[in-house]
């Protein structure tokens, strides 16, 4: 069952036997029916790090900072999720494209979506790694593929911006970036001039450039959590 928004901050998932839903640990608000929660370790063999399963994978996750603990809900009933009063956005994946999101912004997703942790270096080479380090996003990111729905967290709500033929390039502040879907390549642009060096910059020195086709979500705040 797809995830449904109850209001702007709470999301409902309907569980049927044989299905499970993965959520951020501790994000359950309440449930009805016969539901069990079991700890879940995030994606094993990732496309970017094929050799890292098991203990090595765990170490990798801890090093990368992409180690938000997840839990799986199983059984039959309705489960309601929310976290820290943050706004929730539900995004439906139709199977044709991939959602890239940071682990700490992930609230809930359907269990049958494939999730993997990808090193930015495998996407954009050294530039990707530099981007992660400079923007504080870390060197790893979470990717979800398949058919299903995902709930992502944002401070103040997120607005979708189209990237495509009519909008060839969308530039996003790294702190306000939430997630993106589709065939988008992300490039860091450091627009640092001498003004920034002497503290007279406009405060917009480091930016993420999005090109390709897809949608990028931007939150109404520059707070990370």
């Amino acid at each position: 069952m797809p995830l449904e928004l109850v209001n702007s901050k709470v999301v409902k998932s309907t569980l049927a036997p044989g299905q499970n839903v993965l959520a951020r640990k501790g994000a359950m608000l309440y449930y009805t029916g016969d539901v069990h929660f079991i700890p879940h370790s995030m994606g094993g063999a990732a496309s970017g790090m094929p050799s890292m399963g098991g203990v090595a994978g765990m170490a990798g996750r801890m090093m990368s900072g992409e180690h938000v603990a997840m839990m799986a809900a199983e059984g039959q009933g309705e489960v309601f999720y929310g976290h820290a009063g943050l706004y929730v956005e539900v995004i439906h994946l139709d199977g044709s494209s991939m959602l890239t999101v940071e682990a700490d912004r992930l609230l809930v997703h359907d269990g049958y979506l494939q999730s993997s942790i990808v090193a930015l270096t495998s996407q954009g080479g050294v530039r990707g790694a530099v981007r992660g380090a400079m923007t504080g996003q870390g060197l790893f990111t979470t990717q979800l593929t398949g058919q299903g729905s995902v709930a992502v967290l944002s401070h103040g709500g997120a607005i979708p911006l189209q990237v495509g033929p009519q909008h060839p390039q969308v530039v996003v502040d790294p702190q306000a970036y939430v997630c993106h879907i589709g065939n988008i390549s992300v490039d860091i642009s450091a627009n640092v001039g001498w003004r920034d060096a002497v503290g007279r910059g406009s405060g917009e020195a480091i930016q993420l450039k999005m090109t390709g086709t897809g949608t990028v979500w931007v939150q109404a705040s520059e707070q990370k959590f």
């Binding site: 103040g156 709500g157 607005i159 969308v170 502040d173 931007v218 109404a220 705040s221």
Partner: protein, 206 residues
Amino acid sequence: MAQLTTNGHRVLVANLTGDSLRAISGSMVAYEGDVAFKNAGMGGGGLRAALKQKVTGESLSLMEVSGKGIVYFAVDAQDITIVELANDSMHVEASQLLALTGQIKTEVKFSGLRGASSGQGLFTTIVSGTGSVALLSAGGPLIALAVDPQYPLVVDPDAFVAHRGSLNQSFVTDVTWRSAIGGGSGEAFSLRFDGQGVVYIQPEER
């Protein structure tokens, strides 16, 4: 003139067609098109304004955004209200100002003793001219309160955002022996407005 709209309640959208606007430094969350960002200091006024800023501590760090494209602004998930000015002026708390378009000037003015005790500085910012002003309000949408000569208004200084019209602002203290020994109600200082105009407040105290 740059067109201002909102997307939802918390994101300001500016449509630039080769012109420019000023916004709080670092408030851009996304843009598309060919847009340049440059520090604008106090938003014009040159050295004198810069000096004034140093002395007054009313910090208003603006950037000038120019070019062709769409720019999105947001600050800390605060709600945004767009106010149109037509050869008019408005007093704004500097921390609640997001963006200015067109021929709007900013000026820092001594606002009396109210700031000293409420901890907001002794100076407020006056915006005047013709154009649009985007205001921020924390905790929910901005609340506009009408003031009539028969109905003066008293507001908490921590919730005050802006006022316009011909208003007289005075400072009300309610300091008694209770508040001196720590038994006060927490509302010892208030702002009183008399005259004809509109006062904007936010639903959260700073």
